[in-house]
Symmetry: C2
Subunit: 354 residues, 2 copies
Amino acid sequence: MKKKIIRIKDIAERAGTSKGTVDRVLHNRGRVADDVRERILEIIKELNYEPNRIAQSLKSQRTYNIAALIPDPNEDSYWEAPLKGIEKAEKELRQYGINITRYIFTPHDEHSFNAKANEATRENPDGVLIAPIFYKEALPFFKNWKSLNIPYVLFNTQIESVEPLCYIGQDSYRSGSLAAKILSFGLPEPCTLLVLHINEDIPNSAHLITKEEGFRNFFKQNGRAERYKVVSKDINFYEGGVIDGHLDAIIKKESGIAAIYVTNSKAFEVAAYLEKLGRKDIKLIGYDLLAPNLDYLNKETIHFLINQNPLGQGYWGIHQLANHLIFKQEVAPIKFLPLDIITKENLDYYLDPA
Amino acid sequence: MKKKIIRIKDIAERAGTSKGTVDRVLHNRGRVADDVRERILEIIKELNYEPNRIAQSLKSQRTYNIAALIPDPNEDSYWEAPLKGIEKAEKELRQYGINITRYIFTPHDEHSFNAKANEATRENPDGVLIAPIFYKEALPFFKNWKSLNIPYVLFNTQIESVEPLCYIGQDSYRSGSLAAKILSFGLPEPCTLLVLHINEDIPNSAHLITKEEGFRNFFKQNGRAERYKVVSKDINFYEGGVIDGHLDAIIKKESGIAAIYVTNSKAFEVAAYLEKLGRKDIKLIGYDLLAPNLDYLNKETIHFLINQNPLGQGYWGIHQLANHLIFKQEVAPIKFLPLDIITKENLDYYLDPA
DNA sequence: TGAATAAAAGTGTTCGAGCACGCAATGTGA
DNA sequence: TCACATTGCGTGCTCGAACACTTTTATTCA
């Protein structure tokens, strides 16, 4: 059986002209008489013509070079997942001419970021995917890319006041509220909840503050502010240190801590500590399906993880750029990924998403 | 910049032969000397040749007709979502020649199913997507399709002992365990949990029994069987009836019910009842993001919903058939969709998945 | 040895869109 | 009036794979 696809040629025949003319109308290349143009446009509408993307991309043999600026997964294994997602998208889109160059910089090292971002810019890519964990350092690049007309997609960390093609990631505020909701479901009695920011450069991490806001406001808006007391702490112990001392101090000072909310992927550090202490009573919720987190999730030391879907972030980031560059589609400025609640029982389905 | 794609012609040149010969090797059409064949196969491996799917599908103009056998969404709005998913997949795949005919049958009416399934078979489709809610009636069709070499994909209801191209849906057992996990997280005290099968033909609904098993075994395996008592009931009140009387009787008989697990999308019926009674203390968990369920989820009468992603089921079902028919890919026999835990706070992200 | 026949290999067209090119008709200026 | 530009429009090639068709080479038997 044959496909009933409307071709340029069909339109041309109906309009009593040639496909070249229709083509000029379709691409606004001018050099067409006004009356013919009108007629052709009408027929296009009438027949509901849609260009055959398959033929289109077969013809246009150009490649699109996308630069991906990602922190080194050897420093923080969280970044393995976005790279996997990027790879997956690359495979799917290679046939459409998408080519990705990875620029890996060291987290906690602004110079490394600057160097790599400069390198990427020098290659004059057709688009950029970036995890902007260095807020201040990234700003001038955004400006530069804008002036160079290079579309850039942010992921993981939402940054206000710039205009990327698109942001991909989660709604941090909602994320905090969700954590609060789950914890409070398991805590019928009045108690204290601890919010922990672990090994993060807070001035550069507005999204973690937003998470905390969402967390705190959940209790305020639900009129449970009196039953639940929220305390937040920053802990920093870079370079092979241990968290124990910090937590000892906090627990000593704050009595009645019934639950801990870790705002990044470092919940396993807290879990290790709780396990050492044998404190099975403290509820623990954190982020991301890293191997050490999964260990403790299976042991139920970590009760829930919220999946930020870092793989999906990389995947969709590249896809959004492709949608813009190749398929000339409108791209929504924000693509929020779902806030997946993960527990031992449903974990498997989120490990290797399709 | 040009794409560096390896073409049949490239292989031919290297092998010192013509593209026709390479083509015959690629498609095992014979009529090629053994030594040439070997040489070409080696070069193919060496150059890591992958056929350009874009050119392939441009050339092959054939259409694939897929029959979709789905219950009427006017009878049970649950089925709206799979139809939406099918529509979405249809749009994406129309250019590749996928054509979908929908055969809508009445749930609770085996004759209607038989009639539609017969109708679909008569059209001799290239593939079938089916929600096999009538176990017994569906079996002979599976047999027939197998003999006709028509691949069929099951979704929503997993059926053992048949060999579909693929099953798409959830792991019912895990689903039950997950419900148990969440409820027990919110119930520190010993109590009774009620499992409800509402308006279901149980002999035809093995997957609901499996859910119950998963639910019960969660408590057994966690050594909490003594703290948590599980009671299960079937309730049937077709045709505009009310659930209240049934639930009154159950609650009177079983004291200390602290939570209810509804195994299908009818949690809203229970929620309406609980709201009437003003019982805010009973935890309620159910399935699916139907409008009435969402109402009660936002009011927090329903505490959690597990999303069976019926839209995704339809969507992936069609895609799996396309992967098989068009792209000649191996299709995994089971595609479990994630068990998404939905609450008021993360609901939005699951309503219109990309 | 030569004709008949089978096997092996090469050629050319198609799919739909894009775009370079070329041709004809009209317009413009000296 | 001629030279040349501009406008309007049509033709034909390209992309990579598929496949029908043709041509060349090898094999068999009289």
